[in-house]
Each structure stands twice: as C-alpha cells, then as structure tokens.
Subunit: 190 residues, 2 copies
Amino acid sequence: MKRELVNYISSHMDLPEKLEKIVLDSSNIKKYKKGTLILKEDTIANESFFVLKGCLRSYLLKDGDEKTIEFYTEGQPVVPKNYGKKIPTEQYLECVEETIVNVNSPEHEAEMFQKHPEFESVCRILGEIILEKQQELFVNYKMATPEDRYTHLRNTRPDLLQRVPQYQIASYLGLTPQSLSRIRKRLVDK
Amino acid sequence: MKRELVNYISSHMDLPEKLEKIVLDSSNIKKYKKGTLILKEDTIANESFFVLKGCLRSYLLKDGDEKTIEFYTEGQPVVPKNYGKKIPTEQYLECVEETIVNVNSPEHEAEMFQKHPEFESVCRILGEIILEKQQELFVNYKMATPEDRYTHLRNTRPDLLQRVPQYQIASYLGLTPQSLSRIRKRLVDK
C-alpha cells in the first residue's frame, strides 16, 4: 500500500530510484477507525497526511454547526491549516470511513531535508501541485452556482455521493440539506 | 524598491546575505500602466509576480461577466492558475492602478535552482506560505455570509475599498452591486 505514495509522487516528477527507496523506508502508515477525529480545533496541527485508503473530512465549527471544507480520498494529500505552525488550528479532520494514511510531520521533513537535500526539490514541486489544486477549488467554488457545484461534484467525484452522508455533502456545497434535495429533484425531473 | 522582495522573503525565513544579494541582482522589475492586462484567457501563464507598488486584479469571464477572484497589492506574491503549465489559463490579470512588479518565470527559476540549489528550500518555504494564504481565503469565503465577507474585507484590507471600483468589490465578495449597497447601508444604519 505504501507504493501508492511513490506512485503519486512519480506521477508529478521523475523520482530517482534512490529517493523512491527512501520514501518507502521512511513511510509512517496509520490506520484509524471510522469516526476518529485525527485533528481537533484548538490543537497544534503537527501532522500532514496522504490518504492510502478511506476518506477524511475537514470541517470547522461555526455557531455550533459543522461547515465541511473538503473531503479527501485515496491518493490525496492533506495539509491542514496552520500545519507546522505554533498557532492552534480551527480545523477538524474526521475519518468518514475506516481510513489508512501515511503520516508526515515537520520534524520528519526537517530530518529528511538534512539527510537528503534532494527532497527539498521533491517537496517544492509537490507544494506547487497542492497549491494549484487549492486554487482550482477556490475558483470553482467562487464561480459556480450551488447547482453547478453539485453537477461538478457528481461528474468529477461520483463516489463521494455514495460514501458520504447527504447533510455533509450539502454543507460541502454551501447548501442546506433541503436545498440539496430540491436541486437533486430538479435535475432528475429534467 | 527591489528591497521589498528581500524584505518579504526575510519576513518568513533567515535569508543568508549571499542569497539576498542574488535576489537583488536577479530581480526583473516591470512597470505597467493602469488598465494593462498582464495575463489573458487562453494564453500560457508563463510569469508569476510580486507586487512592489499598485494593485492587480485577477478575474475570469463567465457568460461574458467578469468574476473577480482576488486583488493583490504591495507585498503580495501572485501565482496565476496553471503557472508554468503548458495548459492555457482561463485567468485575467489586470492592473487596477499603475503597477510595479517583480516578474519571475519557470525558466528563470530553473536557472536559479541549477546555479544556487539553496533556492529550492527558499521556494519550498514560500510555496508553503502561499498555500496557507490560499487555504485561508477559501475557508474564509466558504464559511462566511456575504455580510461577513464585507466586514472582514473592511477590517483587514480597508485600503481596497478606496482603491477599487465598487462593482469589482461586489463581484469579489460574490454579490451584485445592489446587494453590496444594501449591506453597506445596513451596516451604516446599525
């Protein structure tokens, strides 16, 4: 399963065999039960993740309501807000299913950069990829009507609609569960 | 004025004097008139920017309407969508005022990394900062009501409200100009 991480990196750059071996040897795989909170508000976000199996949901609380920010499934990196900072995060990360992740930390990264400076370049390029995805998410969200957002989700990540409770999908799209139902009905009637 | 770029980098990490000098010597400063489009839809985004003076607006066209994504002012880095990719961008970058920027390109970066590998680490760290800001923008936008967004903007970037036409501010907040007027009136009346 740790090969997934190597495959992800290799899909974005030429990863020399030597570095591939280091990635495999230094992987830190953890398995969490469904419902586990692997990050909570007001704690320090000292871990980043790569989803090998399962689904993570990031959310924030606003006036007691959960506002879903993102879902992360197989093959997606997860860099929490304020990762590696001394400032507490306001983010939650919850396992929507039993989830297996590779776990990284600022300390581990620093050690890797010191021992193998070639990883500076690997992480710089991965950072650019993650930034690009984040920009795309923002632009898509901002440009779209709620109905567009739902259609886009159905076209690009149809599995999510099966894996995740409807009220979480609604919150992810910036809708009430009632509005999501209406949109789905309208699309079926078309 | 090129010192601004060094100051920005130094505010996020220890920049050795040697690298500081390289940044200053390799800067590429350009000045654009108000209204200039420095990036257009369907072209390749082969330049990234650092604003030294002035204001850039990024926007996309949707059904002929300009949808404002972001404003960048003094001290902000600008990495367009699909920067350095062979895929054409859908983004516009317009100078809201006469604007002075430092211009970077993937070719220039590659040359710098080859000559001075220490810049891999500098750019990795800057990339992390930019990612963090981007995450913050997304979360803030997604969590907030339109009125919250306006109040947040007024509190964090009051200068923008003076520098930028109202209809662009409205589009930036995801509002019609009429709704923005209503919100402003409501806040004055409170």
